[in-house]
């Protein structure tokens, strides 16, 4: 009897913990949704800010986030994918390679503000790109490079060796095997990694603090060397700068809702792709 009673208490505690977790997260989403939806309108999504950030919309910030994310992925995807292909398909297996792989995985855990400082020292200062879309994109690109490398590598590792051997046995060259056999099979896995990185890049604030972001710029950015507004930084700036804290808070709610929808949408897509792929493999 006693052991059944202990089980009951234990299981209740475990169930309680997941309930609390979900409750907290729903409260956050609920607050942002209820307060944010009030401010969102067509004008909010398509206009520039007016009257010292108290009116108008946040279109430049949405566009800025789009530019920065696009730039980061353009930079990091080819590099990361090539790195994963090289490590997995071409390079001789060795002890040093294991260390390299370990380091790459660990770089994914380095605080994002450290990447921001790197971007400041290298792109803003050394290469003299200044505080710009280019510097910000490159910084964000380097931030997700380890993520893209390790997720692509996982996707490549999951492909059975026998598939490669079959292709080589039919007389295909190494590149033909990679192009026609390995990559098509690894594509959903790679795609999942890339989409998750898009979500991460879009929401990152610390790396663009000193490399790209501005609270307000007049009009839209003109070239990759101009400063840019970005949604996550805009939320932070609305809460800490400016002269109308109360009105700015409402706008920040709106920005949060847009960012939240964007990121949740992107990660849902990634997870759906992965779920489908799992079904394909395991029936």
């Amino acid at each position: 009897m006693k052991k059944d009673f202990t089980q009951k208490i234990g299981f209740s505690l475990i169930s309680l913990s997941i309930l609390i977790t979900l409750l907290f997260l729903f409260i956050i989403i609920y607050f942002i949704f209820i307060r944010g939806i009030k401010i969102i309108s067509l004008e909010f999504l398509t206009q520039s800010p007016r009257n010292a950030m108290t009116e108008g919309g946040v279109a430049p910030a949405i566009l800025g986030t789009f530019y920065l994310t696009l730039g980061a992925i353009i930079f990091a995807l080819p590099l990361g994918l090539a790195c994963a292909i090289y490590i997995n398909e071409y390079s001789p297996k060795s002890y040093i390679l294991n260390i390299i792989r370990l380091s790459i995985n660990n770089l994914a855990g380095v605080p994002s503000v450290v990447f921001g400082l790197f971007g400041l020292a290298v792109f803003v200062k050394y290469f003299k790109f200044g505080v710009s879309i280019l510097s910000g994109s490159l910084t964000l690109g380097i931030l997700v490079l380890p993520v893209i490398i390790s997720s692509s590598q996982e996707a490549l590792l999951a492909i059975p060796q026998s598939l490669r051997e079959a292709s080589l046995a039919l007389g295909a060259t190494k590149w033909q095997t990679i192009k026609n056999i390995v990559l098509p099979y690894a594509l959903p896995g790679i795609l999942t990694g890339v989409i998750l990185s898009i979500g991460r890049v879009a929401g990152e604030t610390a790396p663009i603090l000193f490399t790209a972001a501005a609270f307000y710029i007049k009009g839209y950015p003109k070239s990759i060397f101009s400063e840019v507004m970005a949604l996550p930084y805009h939320i932070y700036a609305l809460m800490t700068e400016g002269t109308h804290p109360y009105k700015q808070k409402e706008i920040a709610y709106g920005c949060c809702l847009i960012l939240l929808c964007l990121v949740l949408l992107v990660s849902t897509i990634a997870i759906v792709i992965r779920q489908k792929q799992k079904k394909q493999y395991y029936g």
């Binding site: 490590i87 921001g116 020292a121 380890p146 990679i178 604030t205 960012l259 949740l264």
Partner: protein
Amino acid sequence: MLKNIIIFKENLYKWTFTILAFSSLLFLSGIVIILFKEGLPIFRKVKIFEFLFGKFWYPTYQPPEFGILPLILGSFLVSIGAMLICVPLGIGSALYLNEIASKKQKAILKPLIEILASIPSVVYGFFGMVVLAPFLQNLLNIPIGLCAFTASLTLGIMATPTVCSIAEDALSYVPNSFREASFALGANRWQTLVKVVIPAAGSGISTAIILGISRAIGETMTVLMVAGGSAIIPKSFFDPVRPMTAAIAAEMGETSIGSDHFYALFAIALILFLITFIFNIIAEIVSRKYRLKLGLAG
């Protein structure tokens, strides 16, 4: 002739990949090099010991004082507070997903928690600032809502999905035969869970905890917005603090490039990098041993 072209193409691709791979490695090793290059100059002016254990962080005074002990303590205070929340909640949720939830429940809850893990930190920071801080200030009757306690709570909620996902992975690696053997000996589900499954997944769960700490220490926006920002050694959980990440983010914009303050902030970043790197390596080693123990090496 055709053969030559094919061989040429093969080599071309091979070299393209090699060059791209090494340039990305170059970028990544560049981070370490830059951190050392820009972080070490401050130690010509301030001794390492004074820097790490100095009690005063007054970088803009004349003469300035660069003691980062208040910042280190701020980081650890907030992180430990966050762990007290996210470890029980995260591991409890993982246990629920793996041991209690039906297949249908798990198919919904697991992706849901994963999606929630992707909410940007600035959103958590915003929530902590506008909802949680005023609420706690009234509830607990404390002088300032933006303090280490609020930051810990926000950070703890934020890290819970991460800890849950990693711990859940570890639990799912435990072979079902372990559980069946325990049931066959007459143990019930709770006894099996406590005496067999958790010990078997122990090092995997520790990995989740270590990575959780590492993430909490490195998190920037949440603590920048919620922790209160005062660079004084905290006396209680309800004092405002300035963790290392927040100091970098808040002060880098105000320094001139090449000043002592600039180098000091890079030195903080270097220390932060080393702390998180060591934590991550430990996590990696622990989880590797664990996989070996369960016969899942590879």
